[in-house]
């Protein structure tokens, strides 16, 4: 039969030679291989103590952003909720009062902002949709929990730490995808 490709290798099956039938040389060879593996580098990453670095485009939990003075960026326009393919985002808007200028950047703000992390597929479309740079995806992922309810993240959990009151927390949260992508 003509072969279909020229890559065909014809193997001739021969009866085992005496050395092969002894098995022992092959066994010693195999044992040398397994022994050499004792000194090889281990592939394991001991998780809680060691962590793997994420890729620069890793998409983790959402963070609600503030500006330099600590005012929330979000205006509750709802574009992120519309963009969300998993319908994980709900929000309620409210109007900013006279004495609240230091809290919210614009006249309208999100009184309630919830993301259901069980529905979220971490696609990052909310980040792309946002015109105010108010939401971005961080490098952390949702920790495990016992109740479904605890996976619905409220505004308190999503907001980035205050840049003036909690400088360290803010800086830690800023070292993230947004910063890396800017580079």
């Amino acid at each position: 039969m003509a072969s279909l490709t020229n890559r065909v290798k014809v193997l001739e099956q021969q009866p085992l030679s005496f050395m092969e039938r002894l098995y022992l040389p092959a066994i010693f060879k195999g044992m040398a291989i397994t022994f050499s593996h004792i000194f090889k580098k281990k592939a394991t990453i001991r998780y809680p103590e060691e962590k793997r670095p994420f890729s620069p485009v890793f998409r983790g939990l959402q963070v609600l952003n503030r500006d330099e003075e600590g005012r929330e960026n979000c205006t509750a326009c709802g574009l992120c909720a519309v963009a969300c393919p998993a319908e994980a985002i709900t929000m309620e808007g409210a109007e900013r009062q006279k004495n609240e200028e230091h809290l919210y950047r614009e006249e309208k703000y999100a009184a309630k902002y919830e993301i259901n992390m069980l529905r979220c597929i971490f696609c990052g479309l909310c980040e792309e949709a946002c015109p105010k740079d108010a939401i971005y995806l961080s490098e952390t992922f949702a920790p495990s929990n016992f109740t479904r309810k605890s996976f619905i993240y409220s505004k308190d959990e999503l907001l980035i730490p205050h840049p003036i009151n909690d400088k360290e927390g803010y800086d830690a949260a800023r070292v993230s995808r947004v910063e890396k992508l800017k580079k």
């Binding site: 066994i27 195999g30 593996h37 281990k42 394991t44």
Partner: protein, 357 residues
């Protein structure tokens, strides 16, 4: 009255020794499971258990505790008496062999000379054979009484495997016995110790390399270790003879395997590697300067390092070689090892006759 006094002391001494050796082999068996997992891990480029305690050293304790807390299930259709007897038998027979192994020369405590061997019977090797072949009953009874096809097949496999390999094992030892002229383990060790280079040249493995190889292969088969682990071939028979077992009864089976490994390693080291002989060191002259007790302890350490090597060999082979097919197993046992052992026996006999003439 005087006689009674001495006997009481002897009984006390032996009881202490028995207790010590049983505890020792159980602890060793426990940590062999840990070592097995570690060896498996490093040979597969993994880390192995490292969560329980420093370096995972408490892992065997955690495993044992887990087994104790598991529900104990005795299948309705099983033969209850035999079902309970199976693991007990395996464990007992695994431990029994340790009685005739000389764990060291004698030590002197309170003016008494205490031999580090429970019983120096003059038919030590015969005793080992007798007890080891009883071990198959544990597997056979366990598999049979489970009333389950897989277990039964596994039990039958185990029984036929052990019977086939026992023949070659016995034959390979006969050649050894023709050289030593004694069945007592202690005498065999002492003969090896009297060789040149501090005993090293007396080691039987140098005179009986083929016999040693055959014996080692048979030991692997007797312990149901890879490549001869057909009775518990997971992917063919689910779990083999201990499929229906749960809780500590399963634990006993698993544990008995490791105790068996330990004792078999001890037997191999004793028969072929000089037992408690320290190579390149003349124990008698060392004892004059350091005292008997220290030398006896060193001898025990020497024996133990030999045992540790063989335990490692067991694991090393397990994580290297795939399992034999059943017909290949029988082929190797009956058509290769037995004729080889017979040839080895005849050659040894001719050589002995030649030199004695």
């Amino acid at each position: 009255m005087e006689m009674l006094q001495v006997d009481m002391m002897l009984i006390l001494e032996k009881l202490l020794l028995i207790g010590g050796i049983i505890t020792f082999s159980l602890v060793i068996a426990m940590y062999t499971t840990y070592a097995e997992r570690k060896v498996a891990a490093v040979m597969q480029d993994r880390v192995g258990p490292n969560r329980a305690g420093p370096f995972g050293l408490l892992q065997p304790l955690a495993d044992g505790l887990k087994l104790f807390f598991k529900e104990e299930i005795i299948p309705l259709t099983s033969n209850k008496l035999l079902f309970v007897m199976g693991p007990a038998l395996s464990m007992v027979t695994a431990m029994l062999t340790s009685a005739v192994i000389p764990w060291g020369s004698s030590i002197h405590i309170f003016g008494r000379e205490v031999s580090l061997q429970i019983a120096d019977v003059n038919i030590g090797i015969l005793y080992v054979f007798g007890v080891v072949s009883l071990g198959v009953y544990g597997i056979m009874i366990g598999g049979w009484s489970s009333n389950n096809k897989f277990s039964l097949i596994a039990a039958v496999r185990g029984a036929s495997q052990i019977i086939s390999y026992e023949l070659a094992m016995g034959l390979s030892l006969i050649a050894l016995l023709m050289m030593t002229g004694s069945l007592s383990m202690k005498t065999i060790v002492e003969q090896q110790m009297s060789g040149g280079w501090g005993g090293f040249l007396g080691w039987n493995v140098l005179y009986q390399p083929l016999g040693f190889l055959i014996f080692l292969i048979c030991v692997f088969a007797e312990c149901n270790r890879t490549p001869f682990d057909l009775p518990e071939a997971e992917n063919e028979l689910n779990f083999g003879y201990h499929q229906e077992y749960s809780s500590m009864k399963l634990g006993f089976y698993l544990f008995a395997e490791y105790v068996n490994m330990f004792i078999s390693s001890a037997v191999v080291s004793t028969l072929f590697f000089g037992g408690y002989d320290i190579p390149f060191v003349n124990e008698a002259t060392l004892a004059l300067s350091w005292g008997d007790n220290i030398v006896a302890m060193l001898g025990f350490v020497s024996l133990f390092s030999k045992i540790a090597f063989f335990l490692f060999l067991f694991m090393w082979v397990r994580w290297t070689i795939p399992r034999f097919r059943y017909d290949q197993l029988m082929d190797l046992g009956w058509k290769k090892l037995i004729p080889l052992a017979l040839a080895n026996m005849i050659i040894t006999a001719i050589v002995i006759l030649w030199f004695n003439k």
